[in-house]
Structures are given as structure tokens and as C-alpha cells.
């Protein structure tokens, strides 16, 4: 009998069963993304370590990062100063530790802001269509024509390099990407039967958007956030290196390298330390981003 029933099952039924098969839970997805590959585990550990250092910077740093000591200019590493001192006799290790705050805050803040704004714009454009879509899409196209570093340099040079200016600039630079991705995903989700059913049942628009659409387009947004956190840290370092990012005397990895360049024949440690920190963090975040993408992408996750 069993065999007979199997034979009677039509291909349409099989397809239907596959669709109804339980999808992996969110927790399971996160677990797969972060803990399945050793490289991702290491990357995650590195990022967590840097976040802990940034949070507890005042407790960890051996010295005040701004305190100058004219008698200790450009010193090589020693027991007192593990990474030596800079041209004002400031402890480079303490500056690195405090600098991680600026770098990481920039790294997280701008992509998060950009994700919020970009998603609102993209979902609005995709869901409502019509003139709203046309206006938002054209503005997004226009903004995407600017490379983000160029845009950041232009605005920082024009408005000066204060903390919020840089955050605003990077947010503006990243928003179009999020808007475009969320618009495309919204267009796809909008055609799903459950959305059509919700509309037919008279569910209010905000509820449809926040309950049915946004949760279902989060995957690509999260991937973008991870990838752009790395870009954001890199751009902040570039701007600070050029002198238009974090303003001295406040440390950031970029301006520690800039300062170190002028004393590179005496002590190379500020450049090495700043460069390594940026490389390691950017690499780690990129690895995590790649892993999340691999897991969420149906083609590569198999």
C-alpha cells in the first residue's frame, strides 16, 4: 500500500512538501554562520577581544593617552612603554587602546545608521512603488555614483573632521547600498502569497511592513552591515591619516600611523601597531561577514 501511495503522489505534491519542510531556525543560522568554520571562530574571538578592549579602555590603558612627557620623546618599546612613545612622549600602547574606541565606534555606528535609514527608504520604495519609488531610486542612484571615500573626503574637508561630521558622511555614503538591497528584496517579498493574504485580510500597512516584510529582508541587510563595518573602519583610518578624521590629540589608529610617519627613523612601532590593528580588525570583520553571507546565500550554503 505504501508503495502505491508513493506512486500516486504527484510532482506538484512533492514540490509543496519541500516548501513546507521546516526551515532552519534563526539561532541555527547564526550558529552555522559563526561557529562552523575555525577561521570564523578566530575572527569572532578577535573582534570580541577588540570590543572588550575598547569598552574597558580606561581600565586597561597603562597611561593617560593624552599625557605628554617631553623627556620621553620617540622612545622605542620598553617595560614602561610596551609600544614606545610618540613625538610628544605619549604612550603609544595607551593611544592604541583608546584609539580602538574611535575606530570601532565609527565601524559600527555608521553602518547601523545607514542600515536603518537605507532600509526605511528601500522598503518604502519597494512597497509603495509609483512616484515614491522613482524619487528614492533616482536619489539613491545619484549618491551611488560617488565613491564613498571621495564623498567622505569632500564632506570632511568642507565641514571639518568632527566626530559627528564623519559619522554623518559615512552614513550618507552607505545608505544608498542598503536602500537598493532592501528595495529589491521588498519587491520580491511583496509578491509572496502571505503578503497578498495579509493585504486581502485588511491588515494595516505598517503591520505588514514591520511584521511580514522587514524580518524577511534582514538577512542581506545584516551581511551588508558586517561588510561595511570593515569598510567604515578603513575609511575612518584613512581620513584620520589624512588629518581630516579624528582630530588630535584624540587618538585613532589612522592618526597614530600619521604621527608615527614623522618619527619613523627613530621608532617604527606606532606605524606597525596601528597598521596591524587596522588589518586584523578589518580582516576579522570581513571574514565574519563572508561567513554570514555564505550561510544565508542558498547557492553557497549547501
Amino acid at each position: 500500500m505504501t508503495d502505491l501511495r508513493m506512486e500516486e503522489t504527484s510532482p506538484e505534491d512533492l514540490a509543496q512538501r519541500e516548501v513546507l519542510a521546516a526551515e532552519p531556525g534563526r539561532f541555527d543560522t547564526v550558529r552555522r554562520a559563526l561557529f562552523e568554520r575555525p577561521s570564523t571562530c578566530i575572527a569572532l574571538a578577535v573582534v570580541i577581544l577588540f570590543v572588550i578592549v575598547a569598552i574597558f579602555a580606561p581600565l586597561i590603558a597603562p597611561y593617560d593617552p593624552l599625557r605628554q612627557s617631553i623627556l620621553q620623546i620617540n622612545k622605542l618599546p620598553s617595560w614602561e612603554h610596551w609600544l614606545g612613545t610618540d613625538q610628544f612622549g605619549r604612550d603609544v600602547l595607551s593611544r592604541m587602546i583608546h584609539g580602538s574606541r574611535n575606530s570601532l565606534i565609527f565601524g559600527l555606528l555608521s553602518p547601523v545608521f545607514a542600515a536603518c535609514i537605507g532600509t526605511i527608504l528601500g522598503v518604502s520604495a519597494g512597497y509603495f512603488g509609483g512616484w515614491i519609488d522613482r524619487v528614492i531610486s533616482r536619489v539613491v542612484d545619484m549618491l551611488m555614483a560617488f565613491p564613498e571615500l571621495l564623498l567622505a573626503i569632500l564632506v570632511a574637508a568642507a565641514l571639518g573632521g568632527s566626530f559627528w561630521n564623519i559619522v554623518v558622511v559615512l552614513t550618507a555614503a552607505f545608505t544608498p547600498g542598503f536602500a537598493r538591497v532592501s528595495r529589491a528584496s521588498t519587491l520580491a517579498i511583496k509578491q509572496e502569497p502571505y503578503v497578498e493574504a495579509a493585504i486581502a485580510a485588511g491588515v494595516r500597512t505598517p503591520v505588514i511592513i514591520f511584521r511580514h516584510i522587514v524580518p524577511n529582508i534582514m538577512a542581506p541587510i545584516v551581511v551588508l552591515m558586517a561588510l561595511w563595518s570593515a569598510s567604515s573602519i578603513r575609511i575612518e583610518a584613512t581620513l584620520s591619516f589624512l588629518g581630516i578624521g579624528t582630530q588630535p590629540p584624540n587618538p585613532s589608529w589612522g592618526n597614530i600611523i600619521r604621527d608615527g610617519l614623522n618619527a619613523m627613523f627613530t621608532t617604527q612601532w606606532p606605524i606597525v601597531a596601528g597598521g596591524l590593528a587596522i588589518t586584523i580588525v578589518v580582516l576579522s570583520i570581513s571574514i565574519i561577514g563572508d561567513s554570514i553571507r555564505d550561510v544565508l546565500d542558498p547557492e553557497t550554503s549547501q
Binding site: 620617540n74 610628544f88 588630535p248 614623522n262 627613523f265
Partner: protein
């Protein structure tokens, strides 16, 4: 032996050279290459130069009527030697100066012999056109009184006329004929009488000069001089170390000279003493700097000795606006105790409390990216943190910084200038109400608005102008100096030598001890190939 440090240093130098210095060339046998810290040349006409770096080329192409020996300013009238003028006389009231010109002096490019017409024109255009014309307002007329004689008449007596007017960039002698013929092009193609003539003015790379074969005096030793522009400090430093350039403008920040000596022990450093005045201006139009107690507190909160120590061997102590070895400067012992403003954070805090700022004070300040400015501002920022004065520093491009100062947008700006030992000149550009900076950007260097926001030294300067003897003039000048110190609209910070690092293959031919922030190359020679 290759140590880790050598390896790292070499690797970084190699990387940075690749990034910054695309034009690596071997040292040429008969060329002197000088690199200064600006982005590119703007002007060659000495009366139109606004960028200090351009003066280096101008100093080779143009000459003065009289000048002190190479390597320093003339501090007294008898220290000036005849140059394009063979001799001069001055009237008893120091208002009329007659110069007898050297005969047979040829201009570059076939513009003929220098005559009194050219000299008269050079003085008049300094007064009527170009930059700093307000400094030459004392000139009533400059007229030829013979083919080789010029008479200059002054409004007020000036016993230091040679130092205040003759030995300045603006009155370097130019060819009147070339000025008329070339029109606007004269700004970059200016014609002078110096030992080097202009070969090529390249607004990207620099100013290229070659020996002037018809020079009236002893011809230059080295055939060619290239004044190159390398704004990036790292690139300039590497160009010097690699031998791409022979001389480079130094970086005035802590530890730079020491690290260069470590990297290339035979490098020579030419330094002017005292070099640049570094003057901290209190902008009296900004809150709460009108309050004298706040200004005094800031003065007491700055440890000048620490600045001197940090910037060794370039920095020297000053106690008033002028350095102690200048005619109107004061030594510490000469000053009344209350005008010494000794470093005393406790006193500074007490003054702030009395002024109503016991809880601290925040002042936004702009500074320049150029190392000497940013270094001083960063050191001062850290010192004032100890007396609860929070300086919010914005570091900007050098031109933008000067722009913000000139538009009254700054509060505690520093100005760096290699000023001559001509007291009236210093007061005229910094302290007189005529030099008041205004927000339209047309004013002078009185960034404090001294004499406008509060009574200043104008009456004393008028008295100084009437002095006919050098001694009387200096005595009045010291009164001005004390009055400024008491009113405290500006505060003298330690001076900083202008430094040029020189490859030992170049012998300058004389020792640099002071003077302007540019010097002549005509006596230089190449000692080794």
C-alpha cells in the same frame, strides 16, 4: 649587521618612497637642489610673493641696494654693506636718503643696465602695489637724481631705514622695462640682477635657475639651482636622505633633528637664531578673552621652558614680544616680577576662579597642519588642561588656518614670522591699530584687535616715529614692549629657528646664524661629487 630596526626602517622608507617620490634622481654634479615645504610655486616677483617658500628663488634672482653680511639680519645701521648701491648718505633728520648706484649692473634676459629709474620704480611699487604696502607708507617719494643716484624722501624719520625698508623682499630691485613689457606675466617671470637667472617657472614642480654669466660681482660657483616644492614632510625627508635633494626645509617638531642625525649622521643643519617669533594672540573680540585675568591665567598656565625643551635645539626662550637679544627685547631679570608671567598653574587657577571660571573654561581654537604650529598648540592644549582650560583644537590646512585667522574666526592663534630686529616693524605689523585684522580679511597682523577693542600703543608708536637717533628710537621701543606685556593682548612664545637640513656635499660658503627664513646660494660649492 642588519637589525630589526634597520630592516623595518628601510622597508618603510622604500614603501614611502614608492608612494610619495616618483622623481628619484641621482645627484647631479653641478646642480643644487633645494626642497621647501609648500605645494608649488606661486610668484617670483618679490613684491607679490605671499608664500614664504617662493622667497628662496627670489633671494637668488634679486638683490637689495644694501644688505648685511650673508647669514644674519643687520641689527644696527653700521652692519649694512653696499650692494647694488655703492654708497649712501642720510640727512640729520633721517628723512632723506640718497643712494649712489653701482655702475655696469646688468639685468637678466638682456634687459640692459640697472639705472636709477629701475630703483625708484622698485621702491614706489612696494609702497603702491603688491603685498605689505602698508609697511612702506613712510615713503613720500623715490626719485632719480641722476642716472646712478636715487633720492628717497620719508614722511617720518627712520634711522633704521636700511633694515626696515631697503633690506626687505618688497624693495628688491627689478627691471622697470621688463615689468612694463611683461605685464601680468612679470609675477612669475620677474627680471632681476642676481647671480642666478630664471630658466623655468613650473607651477607644479618648482623654480629652475641657472648661473647668470653677466653678473656684476663674483659669479656663482654652482651652475644650476632647482627650488623644488615637496609639501609632504615624509616625502621631503626621504628625498633628502636618498640624496635626491641636497637641502630641505626642516620639520620643526620634537625629535626631528635627532632622528635625522641618527639616520644620516653627517647631515648639516643650518639654523637661524632667534628665527621665527611665535606669538600667541588673544582675540580680544571673543569671550572671555577680553577679561585680562583670563589672559593672565593662560599666560601663567603655559610652561614656556617645556616648549623650549621639547623643541631643542631649535627653540629659544623669550620673555616679552621680542626675543631678549633684539634691541627692544627684555631678559627675565629686566622685567618687573608681575610681568614675567612665570609658569604657575595654581596662580592660573586662582585667577580663573577670580574671573568667574572656577569650574573651568572651553575655548575652540584652530591650528595649522604645519608641524611647528600644531606642535605648539598641542603642547599648550595639554598644559592648559591642567588648569581646567579645555582647548578644542581643529587642525586645518595651512592656508585655511591663515584664512580663518584673517577672518576673525580664531581665538588663540599663533603666528610664526622671522621678524627683523627692527622694533617699529614688529609693532607696526602686530600691535598698531592700523594693522587691525578685520573680518573682511583686508587688515594686517594685529589678530588681537589691540588698540581697537582696548587702548593700545598707537600714541607711543607716534613718539617712536619721531625719534631721529637709533638710541632714542630703541628707548621708546622698550616702553612699547613693556606696555604690550602689561596689557597682554598677545604673548611671546619661545622662538623657533628656521631649519634647513643640508647634505654635507654642499658647502654653503658662510655660516647661517640668523636672518630671514631664506638665504642665498651664490657662494655655495659642491665639495664632493
Amino acid at each position: 649587521m642588519i637589525t630589526r630596526r634597520t630592516l623595518l626602517g628601510t622597508a618603510m622608507a622604500a614603501t614611502a618612497t614608492g608612494l610619495y617620490a616618483p622623481r628619484v634622481r641621482a645627484a647631479e654634479p653641478d646642480t643644487l637642489r633645494f626642497a621647501n615645504s609648500a605645494g608649488g610655486p606661486r610668484k617670483l616677483d618679490p613684491n607679490q610673493i605671499t608664500q614664504g617658500a617662493d622667497s628662496w628663488a627670489a633671494a637668488q634672482v634679486f638683490e637689495y641696494l644694501a644688505q648685511p653680511a650673508d647669514g644674519d639680519f643687520g641689527k644696527t645701521p653700521d652692519e649694512f654693506e653696499p650692494w647694488l648701491a655703492e654708497s649712501w648718505t642720510t640727512s640729520d633728520d633721517a628723512r632723506t636718503w640718497v643712494f649712489t648706484l653701482r655702475q655696469g649692473v646688468q639685468f637678466h634676459g638682456g634687459y640692459g643696465e640697472m639705472t636709477s629709474e629701475d630703483v625708484a620704480r622698485s621702491f614706489i611699487r612696494a609702497r603702491d602695489e603688491g603685498v605689505d604696502s602698508s609697511n612702506y607708507e613712510n615713503i613720500v617719494s623715490a626719485e632719480p637724481s641722476g642716472k646712478y643716484e636715487v633720492t628717497v624722501t620719508l614722511k617720518n624719520p627712520d634711522p633704521l631705514f636700511l633694515g626696515s625698508t631697503v633690506f626687505t623682499r618688497r624693495t628688491m630691485i627689478i627691471s622697470k622695462k621688463a615689468e612694463q613689457e611683461l605685464g601680468e606675466a612679470f609675477a612669475t617671470q620677474a627680471v632681476g640682477t642676481g647671480p642666478y637667472e630664471l630658466e623655468r617657472f613650473d607651477s607644479e614642480q618648482g623654480i629652475f635657475l641657472s648661473r647668470f654669466e653677466d653678473y656684476w660681482g663674483e659669479p656663482a660657483n654652482i651652475a644650476k639651482v632647482e627650488c623644488l616644492y615637496i609639501a609632504d614632510t615624509t616625502a621631503r625627508t626621504l628625498a633628502l636622505i636618498s640624496g635626491e635633494v641636497d637641502m630641505a626645509e626642516g620639520v620643526r617638531q620634537p625629535g626631528w633633528i635627532q632622528q635625522m642625525q641618527q639616520q644620516k649622521p653627517d647631515l648639516q643643519f643650518d639654523m637661524t637664531v632667534p628665527g621665527s617669533f611665535n606669538t600667541l594672540f588673544f582675540n580680544l573680540s571673543k569671550d572671555p578673552l577680553q577679561n585680562k585675568m583670563v589672559r593672565q591665567a593662560i599666560a601663567h598656565g603655559i610652561d614656556k621652558q617645556m616648549i623650549v625643551d621639547a623643541l631643542q635645539p631649535m627653540s629659544r626662550m623669550v620673555y616679552t614680544l621680542n626675543p631678549p637679544n633684539y634691541p627692544t627685547g627684555f631678559s627675565e631679570e629686566d622685567l618687573p616680577e608681575e610681568l614675567r608671567y612665570e609658569y604657575n598653574p595654581e596662580k592660573a587657577k586662582a585667577l580663573l576662579k577670580e574671573a568667574g571660571f572656577g569650574g573651568g573654561l572651553t575655548i575652540p581654537v584652530n591650528t595649522s597642519k604645519r608641524e611647528d604650529y600644531s606642535t605648539q598648540h598641542l603642547i599648550i592644549q595639554e598644559m592648559l588642561r591642567a588648569i581646567d582650560v579645555n582647548i578644542e583644537l581643529t587642525i586645518m590646512d595651512h592656508s585655511a588656518y591663515h584664512g580663518s585667522n584673517r577672518q576673525n574666526a580664531n581665538t588663540l592663534n599663533i603666528n610664526s614670522w622671522s621678524l627683523p630686529p627692527v622694533p617699529l616693524f614688529v609693532y607696526n605689523v602686530y600691535a598698531s591699530s592700523a594693522a587691525n585684522m578685520n573680518a573682511e580679511g583686508t587688515g594686517g597682523g594685529n589678530y588681537s584687535h589691540y588698540g581697537v577693542e582696548m587702548d593700545g600703543v598707537d600714541p607711543l608708536l607716534q613718539e617712536m616715529l619721531q625719534a631721529t637717533s637709533f638710541e632714542g628710537y630703541i628707548e621708546k621701543g622698550r616702553e612699547v614692549e613693556l606696555k604690550i606685556q602689561e596689557d597682554l593682548p598677545m604673548f611671546g612664545l619661545p622662538t623657533l629657528s628656521f631649519v634647513v637640513a643640508r647634505n654635507p656635499r654642499i658647502d654653503l660658503g658662510y655660516e647661517v646664524t640668523g636672518g630671514n627664513a631664506y638665504w642665498r646660494f651664490c657662494r655655495a660649492s659642491i665639495t664632493t661629487a
